[in-house]
C-alpha cells in the first residue's frame, strides 16, 4: 500500500516570541495516515483535523507504550471526550486539540482490529 510519508515540522523558532496554536490536517485513506511524522513544541496547542476518507471507521490514539499496550488488546466502539483518544467515523471529519506539557516521542495508532498491522501508525515528537 503506498504510504505518503510527510514530515511536518511544527516546531517554530522561538527566539523572542512564543509560538501560537498549530493546526494540522491528517487524512486517512485506504486505511493509512497521510502524515506519519509530526513534531510540535512543548506547551503549544496542536489542533488535528482528522479527515476519514474511508467508508470504515478509524481511530487516532496517541500515548506511550503502556497506553498502546492497553488499547491494542481492546475494542472500543467509540471514543468520546478524551482528546488523545479519537474515533473518526467513516467518511467524517473530527477535530481534536492537545497541548503537550512534556517532551517525548509518542506513537499514534488506529487500534481497530487489524489496522495497526496494516500500517496505521505514526509518530508525534514533542520537543523542548
Amino acid at each position: 500500500m503506498p504510504m505518503v510519508v510527510a514530515l511536518l515540522i511544527v516546531a517554530l523558532a522561538t527566539i523572542g516570541c512564543a509560538p501560537g496554536p498549530q493546526t494540522v490536517t491528517l487524512t486517512i485513506r485506504y486505511s493509512g495516515f497521510d502524515v506519519t511524522e509530526l513534531r510540535v513544541p512543548r506547551g503549544v496547542p496542536l489542533t488535528l483535523v482528522l479527515v476519514n476518507d474511508d467508508p470504515i471507521d478509524h481511530e487516532w490514539l496517541i500515548g506511550d507504550a503502556e497506553f498502546h499496550e492497553a488499547h491494542g488488546t481492546g475494542t472500543h466502539d467509540a471514543h468520546g471526550e478524551i482528546p488523545t483518544e479519537v474515533t473518526v467515523p467513516a467518511l467524517q471529519t473530527v477535530e481534536t486539540t492537545i497541548t503537550f506539557d512534556e517532551a517525548g516521542t509518542f506513537p499514534y495508532v488506529c487500534h481497530l482490529p487489524g489496522h495497526e498491522a496494516y500500517g496505521m501508525v505514526g509518530i508525534l515528537t514533542v520537543s523542548d
Binding site: 467508508p55 471507521d57 497506553f67 467513516a90 497541548t99 517525548g104 482490529p113
Partner: protein, 354 residues
C-alpha cells in the same frame, strides 16, 4: 512454490467441506472479532450475454451472523436457489478422488452516500442484497448494516467498483440456519442470472482481510466454446503469477449431461472446453483478477485483469459462450456482530489541556 500434490489436495479439501467443516474454516470468530474468513464455493456462467453465477455458502456450525461481499460483472435480473451438486461434479471431472472421500462427502451430504439497493431476497438462512455504488458507497452500506470490513476493504472495493459498481452482499445467520435444521457442512447455493458482455473472475478479493504472507488457494473452472486465452497466463505445471493450468481439455458429453441435469442448469451447452486454473499464491501478491478471452482472438483484457487503469469499456467482441466456474477458497467474510471489550486508559501522554 507450488507443491506437486497441491492440486489434488485442494480439490479433495473442497469435496470434504461437507464432511469435515474444520477443513473449510478454522474458526468463525477471529481474535478481537476481526475479519473471519469463511470458505465459500462459487459458480459463474456466461452464454449469449447472460452470466449464471452460483455461490454456495457452507454452514460451518457455531452461532452468530456472518457476511460476504462479492463483486459482480453486472446487475442480476434474477436471484434464486441454485443447483445442489454442480461444483462437486466438476471437481470430480478434473480431480478424481479416492472412493472413500466421495462416500464421506455424500454421506455428510442510510445515508445519501450509501450504495443503491437493487434487489433483496432471502434464501434459506441467507439474506441477499444486490448493491450498486462506488467503493465508498458499498463500504458505507456494509458498515451501516453490521458488516465489519477489514482495513484493506476500502482499496479493494474501489478496485472493483471502478470496473463494475455491482456487488452482492450476503448475510448468513448461523443461528437461523441451526433453527432451520441445517447440519454443519450443509451448503446454500445461490444462483444469479447476470446479463453482461464482459465477464471476468474476481481473484484479488480472495485475499481480502488476509496478511500479505498468508496463502490464498482457490480453484477456477472455465467452460467455454473454445479453448480460452487467459491473463495472467496460467503456467502448465510451472507457477505463473500464482496460477497453475491444472486442466485443459474438451468437456466430455457425460460431464455436460450431468451438469445440465442439476437444478437450474439447463442452459449448459452441448459442446464446451473445460479449463481448470488453480490459484496458489500469497495474499500480498494477489493484486489481479483473471481476464478471459474465449472468442478465439487470444486477447484477454489487461483492464479486466487489473493490470491497466480502468477506462471506458472497449467495444464488445463477437458473442461467445463462456462458462465460468470458480471454486473460491475465500471471499470477503466478516462477522456482523462484535462484542467490544473495555480498554484501559492508562499511559496517555502528559497534557496541559485540550
Amino acid at each position: 512454490m507450488r507443491r506437486p500434490w497441491l492440486s489434488l489436495a485442494v480439490a479433495t479439501t473442497a469435496l470434504l467441506i461437507t464432511a469435515a467443516p474444520t477443513l473449510a474454516c478454522g474458526g468463525l470468530i477471529g481474535p478481537n472479532g476481526a475479519v473471519n474468513l469463511l470458505r465459500t464455493t462459487t459458480f459463474a456462467g456466461y452464454t449469449d450475454g447472460v452470466e449464471h453465477y452460483v455461490t454456495s455458502f457452507e454452514f460451518a456450525g457455531g452461532g452468530g451472523a456472518f457476511g460476504s461481499i462479492t463483486p459482480l460483472p453486472g446487475i442480476p435480473t434474477d436471484v434464486k436457489r441454485g443447483g445442489d451438486w454442480t461444483l462437486q461434479r466438476l471437481i470430480r471431472e478434473t480431480d478424481p478422488a479416492p472412493e472413500a472421500a466421495f462416500l464421506a462427502a455424500e454421506d455428510a451430504g442510510g445515508t445519501a452516500r450509501e450504495a443503491e439497493v437493487l434487489l433483496e431476497t432471502t434464501i434459506d438462512a441467507l439474506d441477499i442484497t444486490i448493491l450498486r455504488g462506488g467503493g465508498d458507497e458499498v463500504g458505507l452500506w456494509a458498515k451501516n448494516h453490521g458488516f465489519r470490513l477489514p482495513p484493506d476493504a476500502p482499496e479493494v472495493l474501489d478496485f472493483y467498483a471502478d470496473r463494475s459498481p455491482i456487488f452482492m452482499a450476503a448475510a448468513f445467520d448461523a443461528d437461523a440456519a441451526a433453527a432451520r435444521g441445517q447440519a454443519v457442512g450443509d451448503g446454500t447455493p445461490v444462483h444469479l442470472t447476470i446479463p453482461t458482455d464482459n465477464p471476468w473472475v474476481p481473484l484479488r478479493i480472495l485475499g481480502l482481510g488476509k496478511a500479505a504472507g498468508e496463502t490464498v488457494e482457490a480453484d477456477v473452472y472455465l467452460l467455454t466454446d473454445e479453448k480460452p486465452a487467459l491473463l495472467p497466463r496460467a503456467g502448465a505445471f510451472i507457477e505463473s503469477n500464482g496460477l497453475i493450468l491444472d486442466h485443459s481439455a474438451a468437456a466430455t458429453d457425460l460431464l455436460l449431461g450431468d451438469l445440465r441435469s442439476d437444478a437450474g442448469m439447463e442452459w449448459i451447452p452441448d459442446e464446451a472446453w473445460l479449463t481448470k486454473v488453480v490459484v496458489d499464491t500469497q495474499a500480498g501478491d494477489l493484486d489481479f483478477d483473471l481476464a478471459i478471452d474465449a472468442s478465439g482472438a487470444g486477447a484477454p483484457s489487461p483492464i479486466d485483469a487489473g493490470f491497466a487503469p480502468f477506462g471506458p469499456d472497449p467495444a464488445p467482441g463477437a458473442p461467445v459462450a463462456l462458462y465460468l466456474l470458480l471454486t473460491a477458497a475465500t471471499l470477503i467474510a466478516v462477522p456482523l456482530a462484535l462484542d467490544r471489550s473495555t480498554r484501559g486508559r492508562t499511559g496517555r501522554p502528559p497534557l496541559a489541556g485540550a
